[in-house]
Amino acid sequence: MIRVSDLRYTYSPIRPGWPEQVALAGISFDVPSGGCLAVTGPNGCGKSTLALTVAGLAPRLTGGRLTGEVWVDGKNIQIEPPGALADVLGLVLEDPAGQLFNPSIEDEIAWGLENLGIDPTEMPECIERSLAAVGLEAVPRSQPPQTLSGGQQKRLALAAALALEPQILVLDQLSGGLAPAARAEMIAVLRELRSTRSLTILMTESDPAVIAALADDILVLEEGRVVVQGTPRVLYAGLDGRHPGGTAIPPAGQFASTVNAARNGNGHARLSCLTVDEAIEQVGEIGTEATEIQIADGTDEELDNPGDGEEPAIRIENLCFAYHPSQPILRNISLAIPRGQFVALTGDNGAGKTTLARHLIGLLRPGAGTVSILGEETAGLKVGQLAQWVGFAFQNPEVQIFNPSVREEIAFGPRNLGRTGAALDEAIEVALLQFGLKSLADYPPAVLSFCTRRLVALAGIAAMNTSIIVLDEPTAGLDAAGQARVMSWLVERHGRGATILLITHDMELAARHAQRLLVLHNGQIAADDTPRDVFAQPDVLAQAGLEPPFAVQLAMRSGCPALAADLTPQGAARTWLAQGMGVGSWGLGKKHVGAV
């Protein structure tokens, strides 16, 4: 259905005299009818260029130069007129704000049908069918799209594409920016679509959970070249020793690949699990306790309590806030975060996480109660004054970029705080190195990839060198390397005494790094303890649409608390191997799914 042959794509140089930018350097692949290929790889590897090329929009609307051949449903997209693929191929992009522009849900879906000249009497049925396909049948048809949640907006964008009854779907980073619950809904919708319609799907995706759940094959790109191609099961579980480049691996895959690597093919059957369910199936029902076990084993460190006369970094007392009096967002929140603590803050959409964080930099003032930073009440301080102590990054920090070079962009924050001369230069150099931006220091940041722009924005916060760092979902949408850089910076700053408040939905990340996990629900603190103790309360996490990390789920469901010893998939794998559980005591479970 899709055939790409020796595709090369270059963009013009950023500045005269600079080299051309190579986005795709000669790639070839086929996607058979009804197949699903996931294209993944580090940010900037050429995924989106590939998606737009297959959709027939690049280079027409994007600029650049293309050689090679792209055939879609028997049509050579380079010689077809614009729009020729509209009723064959549906495209859904990452950003819903740029795709949903009509005043109501039904208008949004009808808009594409109107462009194709579909008989208006047929449109209501098309609209209903499309909404049902994405699970939005219960939403009022007259509701404006922008009032939907992020996950619903993406499903509406998908419905608008499906209304044209395409045979092919191109999904560009569909799961980007979605909370886990919304991502799970999207996966369910796409799985259902694959089972009920004969759709061919090409998805560019960074989220390994989405790839593992949907794709038949993975194509890993790096600098515009195919570096690995295979099935998710083989690549993620490391069954043939290959690793999918600089991309993330689902926790179950990390568990399997750690086990497989340790066994090194010495006669044991190999694990090939991609989900907790599969891991349980392959590991077997083990242990004597059934499901309700206590993973908080008492050896975990206690939370530091503020005391001994030192003011905590952040103190919040009886904080209440509402944008509209009838809709309180924060309800009587009190907490103290001691200096030097690494706190993860999580919760469902609308729980009040971002609203709480905005109080810490003074962008919002308490409706009631107080917020103090290092002993100073924020009510009397300007945002600029608080910025001396609090480095704050919004959900999409890359929108703040405006300087002509990466170096200048990073210098903006520290310069505003009064840093000059050698101190400023040193702060910039450290940030450039820390975020891997040294070679791009003179590039205009606006033309860089999404991931690099986000790293530039975070490097700008890093260079401010504040004693408190508050970040709102900084790793969302970043590739594995980008996530590693951000977390390495935070770990390093934490090691030097900084207080970290990290808003995240990623429980694996919280498990690895946080000393304390706060769960907000409905504007109140639903849990506040060590991550291990919070993970032992799955009901609290479920309220927030979250699940405990893989190791905890495996430990709980297999009845073996030891597997959650360090809360990581690798730790679970090492424990399993060290205790001789691979063969004999636990066996390999009921089924050796991936024996190779």
Partner: protein, 257 residues
């Protein structure tokens, strides 16, 4: 409950049900009235009619208040600067060094400020009360090519989004220690530069995404376009258009003739 989509506020009243063409006709003649009005009384009359239409058409008073708050800085700047920059002849009211404010200058400032406010409100009547796609269809039926009509519709649709983006970016810059200047007008204008440049970059990205997603859904295809819900001029619409025309003629007779 009303919901804002760009500048449009959802609602259900005679004004919302009116075909977009009489409303666009009202705006066109209203702006013409503003340009021909000889003095402040006539302009206050136009402003009052626009308000009466919007209030009778069910637009929430809170929305009107917000519009005035948004418009107030521009009106104030005209009111203050016009008498100073173009004092004209006539009795001097205040003189500080070379700067003088005359009665004529004050009157001109008032007229220009009222003209801008009145023109803005009559122009907003169709925009505030017509869904974008209906407005686009209205413009197209008045002879504007579809791509142009859609461009106008999208510009109006994304005004709100761009406004939100401006706020987000401005807050991001503040969080990096960029404070509002307490200096003069030029100093204050300089503080918006980081926000405005970032806004332009972010808006261009948004426009890129929009163009791609529209093209993928068949925008610009060489096929006749269909309309799920087409618009038709009813007797009420024709009567409204006639009343608007008669009102404009009456206005001209009273003010010019």
């Amino acid at each position: 409950m009303t919901t804002a989509v760009g500048v449009y506020m959802s609602g259900d009243s005679w004004l919302y049900r009116l075909d977009p063409r009489p409303k666009l006709w009202f705006s066109l003649l209203g702006v013409a009235a503003c340009l021909t009005a000889p003095g402040p009384v006539a302009l206050i009359g136009v402003l009052a009619i626009a308000h009466l239409v919007l209030i009778a058409g069910g637009l929430p008073m809170g929305k009107l208040g917000r519009l005035w708050r948004n418009l107030a800085p521009l009106v104030l700047v005209i009111l203050i600067l016009q008498p100073i920059l173009t004092p004209g002849a006539g009795a001097v009211i205040v003189q500080i060094g070379p700067l003088r404010v005359t009665q004529t200058g004050m009157m001109l400032g008032l007229i220009y400020a009222l003209r801008v406010a009145a023109a803005a409100f009559v122009a907003l009547v169709p925009i505030l009360t017509t869904p974008i796609n209906t407005l686009v269809r209205g413009l197209q039926k008045l002879g504007l090519p579809y791509t142009w009509s859609m461009t106008v519709g999208l510009a109006l649709r994304y005004l709100g989004t761009i406004g939100e983006l401006y706020t987000t970016i401005s807050e991001s810059q503040q969080a990096r220690g960029w404070g509002a200047s307490t200096g003069g007008l030029i100093e204050r204008a300089k503080t918006t530069v980081p926000t405005v440049i970032a806004l332009i970059i972010a808006s261009l990205r948004l426009a890129d995404t929009l163009a791609l997603s529209m093209a993928a859904r068949g925008f610009g295809m060489d096929r006749p376009r269909a309309w799920r819900q087409d618009i038709h001029m009813s007797r009420v619409d024709w009567a409204a258009a006639a009343a608007i025309t008669a009102g404009f003629v009456g206005f001209l007779i009273m003010t010019v003739g």
